[in-house]
């Protein structure tokens, strides 16, 4: 590879040449241009910049997270469609629609995107939207850090998409095991794109983890003891403490792989004294906790949703808390189950297998407690509750597959097969995605002031679940037929094709489900007057966020609430202790907007791009720029503004005309 001072290893040959890849690039560039064009045409840039991009209001940052994640879900979904077509057609003498290396880029990008930029994005988005409201506070602990984290997340996502147009993405799978991911076997820039996209996004996640953990620990409303917290806040605390412990390991692992590739070091190389199995240990000692990082807040969402739609207190609160921390603790003792087949001793395999099974106990307890919450309730099957039902059915079945694979000898057969692929998709889609879909539907009115259309929501749910079963049922079966994952081609005599065709149909149904969700949002915006939530409490809620008007004002609470027990809003509605006094409104200080977060993201993108293409001046510029932004922010004063008590009185009077609780 040639290298120039100015352009590093970039050359004209980095642009895509085959039809499908060009198509992807055209859609991406066209989409970006279309959005930019519309924003210019409608003169929205100033509005977007002032009201959204530079905002430090966690509710707005949360919405931006959701938008980016939904776009990335579409991107990861487009990868799925291509993969499903390929595996349904690339049989025997037929070569399918993409090359082997393109197919490998598709699944590598799909996995990285779905975990880092969809699941994580939905999770952080939802936490931003509701965590301060649930805790009865006005903001997260570090509002600027929150904005910086978000823009690092965007920069990482941007880097993945840039690889569609300039160069290639990694072909080494979403966890890039060496030595395949080492320079000797992957000489291109693909693995570097992967490293930098994850590194930048991952550092954003790490900072978010610190931020939200501090928020839960330090910013709860007066009277909200730990054991009075809503269950969602507990799950966030569990998840974020895992982030704080696990993500530094990812940072190190990615950095070491990059040092191998860039400075010729020998951490994981074949030869040179390197140890590739150490990489596998390191990446999974991040990777396994990551699974629980994603799923715990989804469990939290389900806890809130089931209690609300059953019209009951959450059953077994203490049990739930114990099981969260049991899961947090155990998630550190299971990473080796991702590679039972690496030749570890029988005792080691058995230990990790048993630890893995034990996690099923606290998880099972949570399911029983949700069922006990439904017992003697008055259950309303609004869309969030539908997602819960789908979750219990699919997650339990996927969990059984997981327990089977936790037996090391069974895993010898099932590992790396499509059975495994089907298992973890069941857990992540039904557990994580369904959870966040439920949460978004549930809290949507609190953020936007109107509910989402129920009919389209239910239709989307049915397409998602039916499509999911059709897409992944065949993969379980294919695993039992001995089909391994990541095959861009297979022999006709194996008889796998019918199953792959069914899986493709299922994936198409899931896509329709996603399209229906987009339609649901569009339709709800158009019908917003009929769907408007005038009371602030559209579902008969139990927790503090429903005590404020919808959409929640910038300052969240006009008077900070006083909490006397669990479900404080429910008891206040039913004649219990009042949430706040009647003293006049005081001035509230909120953070001013800051463009430094956007700048940090932009500099991080330059750093990543420069490092991928060895354009060292650009990388240095990006690094120095980002660090400079941090210092400028750290030493700037006057970062807050005041909303006066009179203004709040005026706003509240207007917003609370139909409130469930009098002012």
């Amino acid at each position: 590879m040639t290298h120039s001072m100015l352009f590093g290893t970039l050359s004209w040959s980095v642009f895509p040449t085959n039809v499908v890849a060009i198509g992807g690039g055209v859609i991406l560039v066209g989409g970006v241009l279309a959005v930019a064009g519309l924003a210019t045409y409608f003169r929205l840039w100033k509005y977007l910049w002032r009201e959204w991009l530079t905002s430090l209001d966690p509710k707005k940052i949360g919405v931006m997270y959701l938008v980016v994640s939904a776009v990335m879900l579409a991107r990861g979904g487009a990868d799925v469609i291509l993969m499903r077509i390929q595996q349904a057609t690339s049989v025997g003498a037929h070569a399918g629609i993409v090359s082997a290396s393109h197919f490998q880029q598709l699944f590598s990008a799909h996995g990285s995107i779905m975990i880092f930029f969809v699941a994580m994005g939905f999770m952080f988005g939802l936490i931003n939207l509701v965590l301060p409201l649930l805790l009865g506070t006005r903001d997260v602990a570090f509002p600027f850090l929150n904005s910086a984290s978000f823009w690092l997340f965007v920069a990482g996502a941007g880097l993945v998409n840039l690889s569609l147009i300039i160069g290639d993405f990694s072909t080494a799978g979403w966890l890039s095991y060496p030595p395949l991911s080492e320079l000797a076997y992957s000489p291109g820039s693909g693995v570097d794109y992967w490293i930098w996209a994850l590194q930048i996004g991952g550092i954003g996640s790490l900072l978010s983890g610190v931020n939200f953990l501090t928020t839960v620990a330090r910013l709860r409303a007066t009277g909200m003891t730990w054991m009075r917290m809503p269950m969602f806040a507990w799950t966030v605390a569990g998840s974020m403490s895992l982030v704080a412990f696990a993500f530094p390991v990812l940072t190190v692992t990615l950095a070491l792989l990059w040092l191998d590739r860039t400075l010729g070091m020998h951490f994981f190389t074949a030869g040179g004294g390197g140890n590739m199995m150490m990489y596998v240990n390191l990446i999974w000692s991040w990777g396994h906790p990551e699974v629980y990082i994603l799923i715990l807040p989804a469990f939290g969402v389900f806890s809130e949703v089931v209690a609300c739609f059953s019209g009951k207190k959450l059953a077994g609160y203490a049990s739930m808390v114990i099981s969260i921390w049991g899961i947090v603790f155990l998630s550190w003792l299971v990473w080796l189950h991702h590679f039972f087949t690496m030749g570890a001793g029988a005792d080691v395999n058995a230990f990790f297998g048993i630890m893995t099974m034990i996690i099923a106990v606290p998880t099972g307890v949570k399911i029983f407690n949700w069922l006990a919450t439904m017992y003697r309730g008055r259950i309303r099957f609004a869309t969030p509750m539908l997602w819960f039902m789908g979750f219990v059915v699919l997650f339990t079945l996927g969990g059984v597959a997981g327990v089977v694979m936790a037996e090391p000898p069974a895993d010898y057969q099932l590992h790396n097969s499509l059975f495994l692929v089907a298992h973890f998709h069941t857990m992540i889609v039904s557990g994580v995605l369904f959870g966040y879909f439920a949460g978004i539907t549930y809290w949507f009115p609190k953020i936007f002031g109107f509910r989402l259309d129920e009919k389209l929501g239910a239709a989307a749910f049915w397409f998602w679940t039916t499509g999911f079963i059709l897409a992944f049922g065949p993969l379980y079966v294919l695993g039992l037929m001995g089909a391994t994952r990541r095959l861009d081609h297979y022999a006709a005599g194996l008889g796998w094709q019918p199953m792959f065709i069914v899986a493709g149909i299922g994936a198409a149904l899931v896509m329709i489900g996603f399209a229906l969700q987009v339609a649901q949002v569009v339709r709800s915006i158009r019908m917003r007057e009929t769907l408007r939530d005038t009371t602030g409490d559209p579902w008969g809620g139990r927790t503090l966020e429903w005590s404020v008007p919808s959409p929640a004002p910038e300052y969240n609470f006009a008077r900070l609430p006083l909490v006397h027990g669990r479900d404080p809003f429910w008891s206040a509605k039913h004649g219990g202790a009042e949430l706040w006094g009647h003293e006049p409104y005081e001035d509230v200080r909120v953070p001013k907007n800051s463009s430094l977060g956007v700048l940090i993201g932009a500099f991080a993108l330059l750093l990543g791009f420069g490092a991928v293409w060895h354009i060292w001046w650009l990388a240095a510029l990006g690094l120095l720029g980002a660090v400079a932004c941090v210092f400028v922010r750290a030493f700037s004063e006057n970062t807050e503004r005041t909303i006066s008590g009179e203004r709040i009185a005026h706003l509240e009077a207007a917003a609370r005309r139909h409130a469930a609780l009098p002012v």
Binding site: A141, L206, V210, P248, V252, M265, F267, M278, V627, F635
Partner: protein, 197 residues
Amino acid sequence: MTGPTLMTPEMRAEDSKAVFGFFTYLMTDFVLFAALFATYAVLRSGTFGGAAPASVFNAPFALLETLILLSSSFACGLALLAARRENLRNTLLALSATFVLGAAFLALELSEFSRLVASGAGPARSAFLSSYFTLVGTHGLHVALGLIWMSALALSLRMRGFTRGNLRKLALWSLFWHFLDIIWIFIFTIVYLFGII
């Protein structure tokens, strides 16, 4: 942390939030170093025919580095005491001493690195050397970052004096500096002492 100025509940909340958040951050940094230590422990024997730990490390040199870094922490403590008494001159003086000692530590470390590279024992030579340079170098990077942070802090102290924000940052920075000491003690023990034995 008790400040000299009268504190409102908001200020106290602000401090407690910052301290909690910073401790959480330090913990994540600790995990980061733990991963690097684990890597070093695994790859220590991966010398691939190149230099082995015993032949690479120079004990008196590492001891000198240790003493310098520890005395910089002592100076950092003096700066904090002076700040508590709102003595700007002494605070800045102690910070300067910290800076000089920290910079001397970095200079020594870099001289050792260049000596090794010159003798053909650079980071690309073997897995052992990769992990050694990365572990010690990451600590060095932290020290460099601490020096830059401290310079900005000293500048801010000169310009604005002992504001709440400056006092808080000084306290957090000193936590960071002591944290780097602790990490270095681990490096000194695990890398240098165990390497020579």
